[in-house]
Symmetry: C2
Subunit: 603 residues, 2 copies
C-alpha cells in the first residue's frame, strides 16, 4: 500500500476567499477560485494551485487508463510548432484569430497548437511505411492554445487548456470504423468514471473535414452549446439536425403562376396581410407558411473572398446562420471553414437585380433572374421543406409585386438543398423518435472520422498488401481535460462549496480539530496517523489559530466528501462524521473511529 502524505492546512499553500472573483459568472469558476484550486493569470489563462493540481491529475489518470485500455499509446508533442504543416492543410489561415501566431528570432512563423492533426500525420508518415504497421492509435494529454474571442466561465472556455487528443491511423474504412467505436466506447467509460452525464450528439465536423462526427455534450444550464434531443434517445447539435422532408406534392392541378401587385409588402407579415386582403386563398387564410422567404447571405471564403448566396425558406421559419455556416461551404465547393453574415446595403448595391423585400427565385418566370449566367451569378439554395411540387407565394423581383402559385421544379429550380432553417422544439426528430426538445450543454469530447483529408494533404501513404501505395484513413478524438474538471465542479456543489465525487476528491477525508485542549490536538494527530496508515489520503485542518467557524466553512468549501470533527464531543468519547454531499452527520465512538471512517470512505 502506498501511504500518501497528509495534507496539513497549517502548511498547505492555500487561501480560501469569502468573495466571488469579480469576473466569475458560473459556480465552478467562483468556487474553484474561492476554494483555492485555481487562480487567474490572464484572461482565460489559469494557474493550478496544489489542490487543483491534485484533482487534475486524477482526471488525467482516468483518461489515460481508458485510452491505454483500447491500445492507444501515449506520446507528447510540442505546443510550439512550425507553420508549414498547418499551411499544407490550410488551417494556418482557416483558424483565423483563434490561432496564436508568433515569429522566432529568425523571423520564422510559428504557432501555438490548438490541435495536432498535422503533426501526428507527419509523425506516422515519418516512421511508418507499410499496412503491417497499422492500425495505430496515438494520444497525448497536452496543453493547447486557442485565442478565444470571449474566454469565459473560468476553465470552461480558456485560452490555455489541457486536452487529451488522439488520432487513429488505418489502412481502410472498416478499420477507421473500428477505431472510431473503440474511442466512442472509451469516452463513454471516461465520462462515466468522471460522473458526467453525457448526450452523444451528431455533429457537423466544420473545419476538421471528414465524415462521421459526434460530440459528447454534458447537459448543463451553463453550457454554451445548444442541442436538441428527443424522448426516444435522439441527440444532435442544431447544426447537425436534418429536416424530416415532406413527400413530393402532385402539383398537376395547381393553377399557373401569376404575378400580382402587393403594395407595401416587404415583410412576410405585410405580405400575408396584403395577400389575404387582395388575393384571398381559395379555402381558409394565407399564413406565413405559404410564403417563400428568399434571404441573401454573404459567405466569406477562407481566402477572404466575399460571395453572395440566396436561400429560400418557408416564411414561418427563421434562417439559422450557424446552420448555414456549417452547411454552405460544401454546397459551394469550398474546402475550408467559411463565415457567413447577412448581406449588407453595399452587397445589395452591387446586384441591382436584387429588389429588397421582393426577392424571388424567378428562374423560369421572366427576365428578372436572381442570377445570370455571368460571373456575378448568385447561387440559390432552398430549405428541404421546399419539395418538388410545393406551391409558394414569393417575391417577383420587382417592387410591390409578388408571384402566386409558384411551384418548385415546375416554375423554379435551385442550385441545391441546404439545412438553413432554425430547428424548433416540437420539430420531429429525424430518426422518428419523437418531437425535439431543446437543451444546453458543454462539449466535453468530440470524435471525428477525418478520413483521408489530412493524409492526402500531407502525403501519408503506406504500401498495401499488393505493394501499392494507399492513403491512410484517420480519425481524431478529443477530450477537454481541464474543462471536464470544471464541469464536474459545476455539477457537484451547493451554496457552501464544492462536493467532489469520491474518486476525484483531493483527499479521502477531511479531519477538523477544533477546541482548545492539548488532548484534542494530540488525539487528532494520532487519528490522522492511523487513517494514513490505513491507506487513506487525509486532509488535516491542524491550524492552531483558526476559529471553529473558519474551519467548518473551509471544510465545506473545499469539498472533501467525508468530514470528521474532533471537537466538542471529544470529552464524551465522540467524534462527528459528516457526509459532505448529504449533509448528514452522526457521532462515532473514539475507540472505533478509525475503522468506522475507513468503512465510510470505502463504502
Amino acid at each position: 500500500m502506498i501511504q500518501v502524505a497528509t495534507t496539513r492546512l497549517s502548511q498547505l499553500f492555500l487561501r480560501t476567499l469569502r468573495d466571488d472573483p469579480v469576473d466569475a459568472e458560473v459556480a465552478s469558476h467562483k468556487l474553484l477560485v474561492r476554494a483555492g484550486y485555481i487562480r487567474r493569470a490572464a484572461p482565460g489563462i489559469y494557474t493550478w494551485l496544489p489542490l487543483g493540481l491534485k484533482v487534475l491529475n486524477k482526471v488525467e489518470n482516468i483518461v489515460r487508463e481508458e485510452m491505454n485500455a483500447i491500445g492507444a499509446q501515449e506520446v507528447h508533442f510540442p505546443a510550439l510548432l512550425p507553420r508549414e504543416p498547418y499551411e499544407a492543410t490550410n488551417r494556418w489561415t482557416e483558424y483565423g484569430d483563434n490561432l496564436f501566431r508568433l515569429q522566432d528570432r529568425r523571423g520564422t512563423d510559428m504557432l501555438l497548437a490548438p490541435t495536432h492533426e498535422e503533426m501526428f500525420t507527419l509523425l506516422v508518415k515519418d516512421l511508418y511505411s507499410s499496412y503491417k504497421d497499422l492500425p495505430v492509435y496515438l494520444y497525448q494529454i497536452q496543453t493547447k492554445y486557442r485565442d478565444e474571442a470571449r474566454p469565459r466561465a473560468g476553465l470552461l472556455r480558456g485560452r490555455e487548456f489541457i486536452m487529451k487528443d488522439s488520432y487513429s491511423f488505418n489502412i481502410d474504412d472498416a478499420g477507421l470504423e473500428e477505431a472510431y467505436f473503440a474511442h466512442r466506447g472509451a469516452y463513454q467509460r471516461i465520462f462515466e468514471r468522471l460522473g458526467l452525464e453525457i448526450a452523444i450528439v451528431k455533429a457537423q465536423s466544420g473545419a476538421m473535414g471528414g465524415s462521421r462526427s459526434e460530440e459528447f455534450l454534458h447537459p448543463t444550464p451553463v453550457g454554451e452549446d445548444t442541442f436538441v434531443r428527443s424522448e426516444g434517445g435522439y441527440a444532435a447539435n442544431v447544426e447537425a439536425v436534418t429536416t424530416v422532408v415532406p413527400e413530393p406534392i402532385d402539383a398537376s392541378n395547381t393553377p399557373a403562376a401569376s404575378i400580382e401587385v402587393t403594395p407595401d409588402s416587404p415583410t412576410i407579415e405585410t405580405l400575408v396581410e396584403q395577400s389575404n386582403a387582395l388575393h384571398p386563398k381559395s379555402e381558409g387564410q394565407w399564413t406565413a407558411a405559404d410564403t417563400l422567404k428568399n434571404v441573401v447571405i454573404a459567405v466569406i471564403h477562407p481566402d477572404g473572398t466575399r460571395q453572395l448566396v440566396a436561400i429560400g425558406v418557408p416564411g414561418d421559419r427563421a434562417v439559422d446562420m450557424g446552420r448555414v455556416e456549417v452547411n454552405v461551404g460544401v454546397l459551394l465547393g469550398i474546402g475550408g471553414e467559411v463565415e457567413v453574415e447577412a448581406a449588407t446595403e453595399e452587397d445589395f448595391k452591387k446586384f441591382p437585380q436584387l429588389v429588397k423585400g421582393y426577392i424571388g427565385p424567378g428562374l423560369s418566370l421572366d427576365a428578372k433572374l436572381l442570377g445570370t449566367e455571368s460571373e456575378t451569378e448568385i447561387p440559390y439554395f432552398v430549405d428541404p421543406r421546399v419539395v418538388s411540387g410545393s406551391t409558394w407565394i414569393t417575391g417577383a423581383n420587382e417592387a410591390e409585386k409578388h408571384v402566386y402559385n409558384l411551384v418548385f421544379e415546375r416554375d423554379f429550380e435551385a442550385d441545391g438543398v441546404i439545412e438553413a432553417c432554425e430547428v424548433r422544439e416540437g420539430d420531429p426528430a429525424p430518426d422518428g423518435s419523437g418531437p425535439l426538445i431543446a437543451a444546453r450543454g458543454i462539449e466535453m469530447g468530440h470524435i471525428f472520422q477525418l478520413g483521408r483529408k489530412y493524409a492526402e494533404a500531407l502525403g501519408l501513404k503506406v504500401l498495401d498488401q499488393n505493394g501499392k501505395l494507399q492513403t491512410v484513413t484517420m480519425g481524431s478524438y478529443g477530450v477537454g481535460v481541464t474543462r471536464a474538471l470544471a464541469a464536474i465542479a459545476e455539477g457537484n456543489h451547493d451554496d457552501k462549496g464544492l462536493i467532489w465525487p469520491r474518486n476525484l476528491a483531493p483527499a479521502d477525508v477531511h479531519v477538523v480539530a477544533t477546541g482548545k485542549g492539548a488532548d484534542i490536538t494530540e488525539y487528532a494527530e494520532k487519528l490522522v496517523e492511523e487513517l494514513s496508515a490505513a491507506g487513506l489520503d487525509v486532509m488535516f485542518d491542524d491550524r492552531p489559530k483558526a476559529s471553529p467557524g473558519v474551519k467548518f466553512g473551509d471544510a465545506e468549501l473545499l469539498g472533501v466528501p467525508t468530514i470528521v470533527v474532533v471537537g466538542r464531543g471529544f470529552k464524551d468519547g465522540k467524534l462527528e462524521l459528516k457526509d459532505r454531499r448529504s449533509g448528514e452527520a452522526r457521532d462515532i465512538a473514539v475507540e472505533s473511529a478509525a475503522e468506522e471512517i475507513v468503512r465510510e470512505v470505502n463504502k
Copy 2:
C-alpha cells in the same frame, strides 16, 4: 503490487533507425532519435515518443519526490503569460531575442515564459499577507520556452523544454539560507538518484539578480559550460572564480615613474622587445607580466546605452569578456544584464585622448588623462593582481611612448577592481585547495538566493511580528528535466546503443523471442506473463517477422538493462540472460528462469 502492461514490440509505436539524424552531433541526440525515444518537430523542439515519455516520467517523479520531501508544494503555471509582470522587473527587455513574444487577438503583448519568478511572486502576493504564512516553497514541473540562438545537441539545449522550477519565500535572511540549503540537499539527492555526477560550482547570478548562487554542473566533454575545479574540491564556473590577490608591495624604494620612447611598440610583445632593447631591467629581462595592458571595452546597458570602460590587466593575461560581462554591471551601478564587446574604431574616434597601443591610466602623470571630469569620462578598473605598490610599464597616452616604474596607488588610481582576466589551469583555487584544472560540463541545475529584488519590484510585502510591512526574501531553483534525461543518455551508452540505469529504464527486462518453433513463441508468452505477474515491467520483442539480427540489434539500441533471449538454446532447456551494460551473458535453466530473472533485476 501494480501490474504494468507489457510493452509488445509488435504493437509499440516505434521505428528504430540505422542512420544517425543528419543534424545530430552528440551521442545522446543520435541515440535517442535512432532508438525512437524522441523525434524532432522543429529546430530545438522535440516530440516524445512512447519509450521516451516513459523514461521522462520516471525522471520527473524522482524530481517530484525529492521536492515533496523538503516540503515544497507542486503547482502549475501557464506558459503563455502577460507582459506586465516581466515589464515590472525589466526582463521583458533584458531577455532580448531569447524571449518568445507574441500578441493576442486584441494586440495585448504576451510571452512564452522562460522562467516564472514574476508569476510566483505575484501569486504569493495575491494569497499571503503575514509572516505566519511563511516560509513557503512552491514548485512546478513545466514546459519552458527560450528562443536559443543556436539550439543544439538535441535535448541538451532546446527551445521548448521541461524544467522543474521552484521558489522559496521567507521573511528573513536566515530563512532564505535554510531554504537554499534545503534545495541544495534535494538537488544532490535528485542527481544522485539520476546517476549524474555533479560538481556544484559557484556562479554569478547574471540577469537573475541576488547574491549567492551555485550551479549543478555535470562534467562531460560535450558540455557547453567551462568550469574549473581543484583536486581539493573547489569548483566554480570561470565567471565566478575570484583571484588570489597578492600582498600589497612596499614601493618606497621604487624609482620615480618616467616616460620613455618606445618606437613601434603597440603590442605587449613589441613593448617587451623594445623595453629589453632600449630600457633594460636592472636585473634579468622584462616580461609581459611587468606590463600593464589597458583594454577598452564597450558596455551596452539594458536600455541600449553604449558606454566605454578601460580595464588594466597584467600584460601576460588575456581579458575574458564573459567574466567582464557578469562583473562590470555592478561596478557601473547598472541593475540589469549588460552586454560587452571590444571597443570599435568608431568608439575610439569619439575619444581622441585614447591612443591605440599606447593607452595608459595616466592619472597622476600629465595632462593626457584617460578620462576627464567631463561627461565623457571613461571609468578605469584594474585586475585584482594590480595591488597597491605594484610597479608597471604601461602606455603613456602618446604614440610610441610608455611609462616605466608606474606604481599603483602612488602614481595612478582606479575606479574599482574587476575580475576580468582569463582563468588559467594552474591558477591557485581561491580556497587554497590547490591549482585549478579546467573542465567542461552541462548545467543541470541552478540555485539562487534572489533576495528581495523580485519582491521589491512587484511589491510582495507581508506583515511581520510587529505588524510592520516587510519585503519578502526569495530564492529560485531550477532543474533541467529534459536536459537531465539527455545527460543520462549521454553518459550511459556504447557504440551499439543506450544503456539505461535500472531505475530509469523504459522496462525492467527485454525478452527477445527468436527462432521458428511455435513452442518458442508459446513459452516466451508464458515467461512474459510470469515476469509481469511477478511485478516486472517487461518489454517483449514478439515481432513474428523480424530477424534475430534485427531483434538483437534493437535490444542493444533500446538499452533495457537486462536482456533475455528465448532462442537457440531453448530446445536444450536454456535461455540466455544478458547484462546490457557489461555485455556479460550466461545461460539459465528454463525451469527456474522466471525466478532467476526477477533476482537479476532486483539485485
